[in-house]
């Protein structure tokens, strides 16, 4: 069977958004976002206008998965950070447990600064998400979810 769903409450979502907002400021980044290793976008902060963040999330996860596969082949557990530097725009990805912290930045920042600031917030993000995962797993957050009431008609209506 598939893994149990991850349920994110508003409170945790806003905590994560606050951490991302601070990171964006401290790292002078254009956009900061958090993705899970399966490619699901969790939260973003910054100048996302014109940026396809859903695709970027999926490709970032694919990127980390592929380099993780390479790491295993050479006897490493994983590569905890990945950086791609372009002429004007760059991307830094750090692996934080089951999450990926993705920072998009330009000439107004530097790789060193982004790495440093990303590292500083990693622990905080990991602990917020650990709480999300824990409460999702033990069903604490699921009690008042409306999905138990989904009817066949609800499902059918999506395809009509």
């Amino acid at each position: 069977m598939a893994d149990s769903p991850i349920v994110m409450r508003e409170q945790e979502y806003h905590q994560i958004k606050a951490v991302l907002a601070r990171l964006r400021l401290d790292a002078s980044a254009r956009v900061v976002f958090l993705v899970d290793k399966d490619g699901q976008q969790i939260a973003t902060h910054g100048d996302v206008a014109g940026l396809d963040t859903t695709s970027l999330a999926s490709l970032a996860a694919g990127n980390v998965a592929a380099t993780g596969g390479m790491a295993e082949l050479i006897g490493e557990k994983e590569f905890p950070t990945l950086s791609h530097e372009g002429e004007h725009e760059s991307i830094h990805i750090s692996v934080v447990g089951r999450l990926l912290l993705v920072v998009v930045f330009d000439e107004h920042s530097s790789l060193g600064l982004v790495k440093l600031r990303s590292k500083q917030v990693s622990q905080q993000l990991a602990s917020i998400f650990a709480e999300v995962a824990r409460s999702s797993e033990d069903g604490q957050t699921n009690e008042d979810l409306p999905f138990g009431e989904i009817t066949d008609e609800d499902i059918e209506s999506l395809f009509s």
Binding site: Q40, G62, A66, N142, I155, L158
Partner: protein, 194 residues
């Protein structure tokens, strides 16, 4: 895995199209992309070789509508079908909520179908999943071609657990949405149970 965000009131699920090389996985996604309103889908990303064979995956997000006030978004992925891309196939199965197996109906591709189906079961197992417990649909594609195996014979060979079997011609769209619907319904039914 299904990701439910209360703040943005979204449900995100991952569906993977699996099957042997050239069976029509990308064609399924391409048809869905071409026939869906732009506001209901994102870009289609294809990581393909210069000869248009899938190298890593194709991806497109598809928004189906609201269920109980939650936006329902399916992330559709394909895997590369060619045998030697097995490491990539395993990676793409991570976090999967539902699988579509696209079988090629041509007689000469039956061995490739069987091999790919075994490969799917094995790769799911290596990621901690059991095909028998996962939302799953079987699509018999390329029904318009000559020298095809009968649907009954294909189902007898490839059906694993009474999953929905859909006849299709993905290039013209026949059966494409029926297949998606068959697996999406199961994914949402699982959500109801959880």
């Amino acid at each position: 895995m299904t990701f439910i965000n209360y703040a943005s009131r979204e449900i995100n699920c991952k569906i993977v199209y699996y099957g042997p090389g050239l069976c029509g996985k990308t064609t399924n996604l391409q048809y869905i992309f071409d026939s869906t309103a732009p506001q209901s889908r994102g870009k289609m990303i294809s990581l393909a070789t210069e000869t248009d064979r899938t190298l890593f995956f194709d991806f497109m997000p598809l928004e189906l509508g609201n269920v109980r006030g939650f936006k329902t978004r399916f992330h559709l992925y394909t895997v590369p079908g060619q045998v030697f891309y097995d490491a990539s196939r395993k990676l793409i199965l991570k976090g999967v909520d539902g699988v579509v197996f696209v079988a090629d109906s041509q007689e000469e591709r039956m061995d490739a179908n069987i091999e790919s189906l075994y490969n799917l079961e094995e790769n799911l197992r290596s990621q901690g999943y059991d095909l028998m417990k996962l939302p799953y649909a079987l699509q018999l594609n390329k029904r318009d071609l000559p020298q095809i195996v009968s649907s009954a014979d294909m189902a007898a060979e490839l059906q694993r657990k009474g999953e929905p079997v859909v006849e299709a011609v993905a290039s013209t769209g026949v059966g494409v949405f029926d297949t998606l619907k068959a697996v999406a319904k199961q994914v949402l039914t699982e959500l109801r149970k959880s």
